[in-house]
């Protein structure tokens, strides 16, 4: 019984599974010490309640939140669930329970510690999504566009509409290797599906990525060189996706930014073009 010993919940990791856990928490009148995904669970002596994913329960919790607590709270719950980090389920459960006891305005109490935790999780998820809108890069593989990403949080649902609006007439796939899922868009239809160990074909899409690298190198202004500023906007962990900084990632590379005056730039341009043509400078 709920009041004896430390109780933890285990669920299947899905959003519906989590909502079922919320349902169980209310119906059992207990707050578990933790909610964990069954697959990640280590053997322990704690008492475990295995939550059964029940769509009916999940739907009741969802409509309950929407009706009683409003859209903002529901949106925060959904957004925070995309967060990837320990203790997220428990934090969301506490937030939901707090909201049920304190009412609709709970979502706005971002000065409150428990609410702030959810708020921060939402911000982290949103920021991560924005980074992947910025730094996802496709390569063309026989006309289809392919990208592989390793986001900290599960951002595919959040970046979906951005890419579908941009390139709606293309066939494209974004593979989240971290969470084993892919966003696939083909013939105007889009889906996020679980994918394990995807073998991607080697693409030879270097014509435009080489042009892009040239462009990137050419637009840097030597006299304004500021690597710290660049890194703060474009942290190193995203560089693996970006063709334009691949060479810099290899530690021996020193960015060539030495040119300064108009005459030097002109000489540099001429030289690099002679090199391209295979002539001696």
């Amino acid at each position: 019984m709920p009041d004896r010993g430390i109780l933890i919940f285990s669920y299947d990791g899905s959003f519906n599974g989590f909502l079922s856990a919320v349902f169980d928490s209310f119906s059992m009148k207990t707050v578990p010490a933790d909610i964990v995904i069954a697959d990640d669970m280590e053997p322990s002596l704690l008492k475990i309640h295995y939550v059964e994913t029940n769509l009916e329960h999940a739907r009741r919790v969802e409509t309950g939140i929407e009706k009683k607590l409003g859209e903002t709270v529901l949106r925060m719950v959904k957004r925070a669930f995309l967060f990837d980090g320990e203790g997220k389920e428990n934090a969301i459960l506490r937030f939901i329970r707090k909201a049920f006891s304190e009412g609709k305005t709970t979502g706005g109490k971002i000065g409150d510690e428990e609410v702030n935790r959810i708020y921060k999780m939402c911000v982290a998820v949103n920021n991560e999504a924005e980074r992947f809108r910025q730094f996802t890069r496709f390569s063309d593989s026989n006309g289809a566009l392919v990208a592989v990403i390793h986001p900290k949080h599960f951002v595919l649902p959040l970046i979906k509409s951005f890419f579908c609006a941009r390139i709606k007439n293309e066939h494209f796939m974004i593979f989240d290797a971290e969470h084993g899922a892919a966003l696939i868009h083909t013939s105007g239809k889009t889906a996020i599906i679980p994918v394990e160990n995807l073998e991607l074909p080697e693409t030879e899409d270097c014509f435009y990525s080489d042009l892009w690298k040239t462009y990137y190198r050419r637009i840097a202004i030597a006299s304004r060189y500021n690597p710290t500023c660049r890194r703060s906007h474009m942290p190193k962990r995203f560089w693996q996706y970006l063709p334009e900084v691949q060479e810099e990632l290899e530690s021996s590379f020193v960015p060539k930014l030495s040119f300064g005056t108009s005459a030097q730039i002109a000489a540099d341009l001429r030289q690099s073009h002679n090199l391209l043509k295979g002539e001696n400078p």
Binding site: I167, I221, T261
Partner: protein, 434 residues
């Protein structure tokens, strides 16, 4: 000449237009086959100097017939020349866009032959993009001063944003440094675009299928540090441009000396980056913080304070208006507190509806108290003893920065005054929180 060579020459020639530009207009993808411009814009990369790359920024051509002294593409300069065909440019834009390298195109050009001929080529490139490829992404085009008004009109129907560069902050400087351009040539298309936008807005309410004219508005840019104008002059000019021409943005570009000329700063002059940064901060105050140019700068001290940002500088000379109580101050006043930006002020307003805020709550809201603490109270309490005179306040808020000498504008300062990017309308790009 192959496309790689053209791209390197024409990107190189376009880069000294140092504004970071990103899109600022919502266009849905229903309007075409490829592309959608989001209102907030998106930086897809950052240059080695930390500027946001959102648009493919190139010149159509750098084979200029004009001879502006500060410009790398000027006729008398010995520089490799190249010209894109409209098709090449359109293909490059689409292919970069598909791969998520860019949000759109920023097209400018040197004057090839005549202003009209140049504009026609630019228009053709945009026409291919919009009409043949159905591109609905963001396009910013520069109108060429001196071109036929009909062409400016056509350009405006294809682009999201059009800009006409003021180039230099005064007519006198224009005359001496850009002898082929005139104030009239620049202001005429600017006025034309303004009227066009107003008429279009009216038509849009009357007829549903009116094509949009410059839907993202117009902007301009001026070079700072090539000519002797003061910040006082520049900020008042900026204010006038916003008021008179309804501009969306005024860009400042720190002059990077590339050529020797008796009329220009010498080649070893460093680009006045800190000054450019301060001007952008002051510009934010004009556009989003409800300040007027005359509040920000005083004719007796016509340059912005190098050590503190313009908002701080205003606050320390108006200590009688502080401290403000965060639980009751109105939005406008919160915005005037150093350290509280637009985002911060909005968060405070939102949070205080449901609870009284103390300093811990402010911290949780992400408000940086380093400076703000000298200007606010929470429930009547201060966090620290508040200095009473302008001098002691100035000392208190800048003390952590007092390690190095701050006598001139130099690169060393930039590690301390980490320049916020010169981004366009992009909150993420420009934090705007100061």
């Amino acid at each position: 000449m192959d496309i790689m060579q053209k791209l390197s020459i024409l990107a190189e020639a376009a880069k000294y237009d140092a504004s970071c530009s990103s899109s600022g207009n919502g266009r849905t993808s229903d309007e075409g086959f490829i592309g959608a411009a989001t209102p907030s814009g998106c930086c897809h990369s950052f240059t080695a100097d930390g500027r946001c790359i959102s648009l493919l920024k190139v010149l159509m051509s750098n084979a200029c017939v004009y001879d502006c002294k500060y410009c790398i593409s000027r006729r008398s300069n010995d520089f490799p020349r190249a010209t894109f065909t409209p098709r090449e440019l359109a293909d490059l834009t689409i292919e970069f866009y598909r791969r998520n390298y860019i949000e759109g195109l920023f097209l400018s050009s040197a004057v090839v032959g005549t202003p009209d001929w140049t504009m026609e080529r630019m228009i053709e490139a945009l026409r291919i993009l919009r009409e043949e490829y159905g591109f609905a992404g963001y396009i910013h085009a520069k109108a060429i001063p001196g071109a036929d008004p009909v062409l400016t009109q056509r350009l405006g129907l294809l682009a999201d944003r059009v800009s006409v560069n003021i180039e230099l902050p005064s007519e006198k400087s224009l005359l001496s440094l850009a002898p082929d351009k005139t104030k009239h040539n620049i202001l005429e298309p600017m006025g034309l675009i303004k009227t066009g936008i107003l008429e279009n807005r009216e038509d849009l309410t009357k007829y549903r299928h009116t094509p949009k004219f410059v839907p993202a508005g117009q902007s301009t840019q001026m070079i700072v540090g090539a000519s002797p104008e003061t910040d006082y002059h520049i900020l008042h000019l900026t204010e006038k441009l916003y008021q008179k021409y309804g501009l969306k943005r005024v860009y400042y570009s720190a002059y990077v000396p590339l050529q020797e000329d008796a009329l220009l700063p010498s080649l070893d002059t460093r680009p006045p980056l800190l000054r450019e940064h301060r001007l952008y901060q002051a510009d934010w105050l004009l556009r989003f913080y409800g300040f007027e140019a005359s509040e920000i700068i005083d004719p007796k001290k016509p340059m912005l304070h190098p050590e503190v940002d313009p908002k701080c500088s205003w606050a320390v000379s108006h200590l009688d208006e502080f401290p403000v109580e965060v639980n009751t101050a109105d939005y406008e006043m919160l915005l005037r507190v150093p350290g509280i930006g637009v985002k911060g002020a909005k968060r405070i307003i939102r949070a205080r509806r449901s609870q009284r805020l103390d300093f811990d709550a402010l911290k949780r809201l992400g408000i940086v108290l380093k400076r703000a603490k000298f200007f606010i109270t929470c429930c009547g309490k201060t966090l620290q003893r508040i200095p009473e005179t302008t001098e002691s306040m100035l000392w208190a808020i800048t003390s952590p920065n007092r390690m190095g000498g701050f006598t001139d504008y130099g690169m060393e300062q930039l590690s301390l005054f980490q320049p916020v990017l010169t981004g366009e309308d992009v909150m993420e790009c420009l934090t705007g929180e100061f």
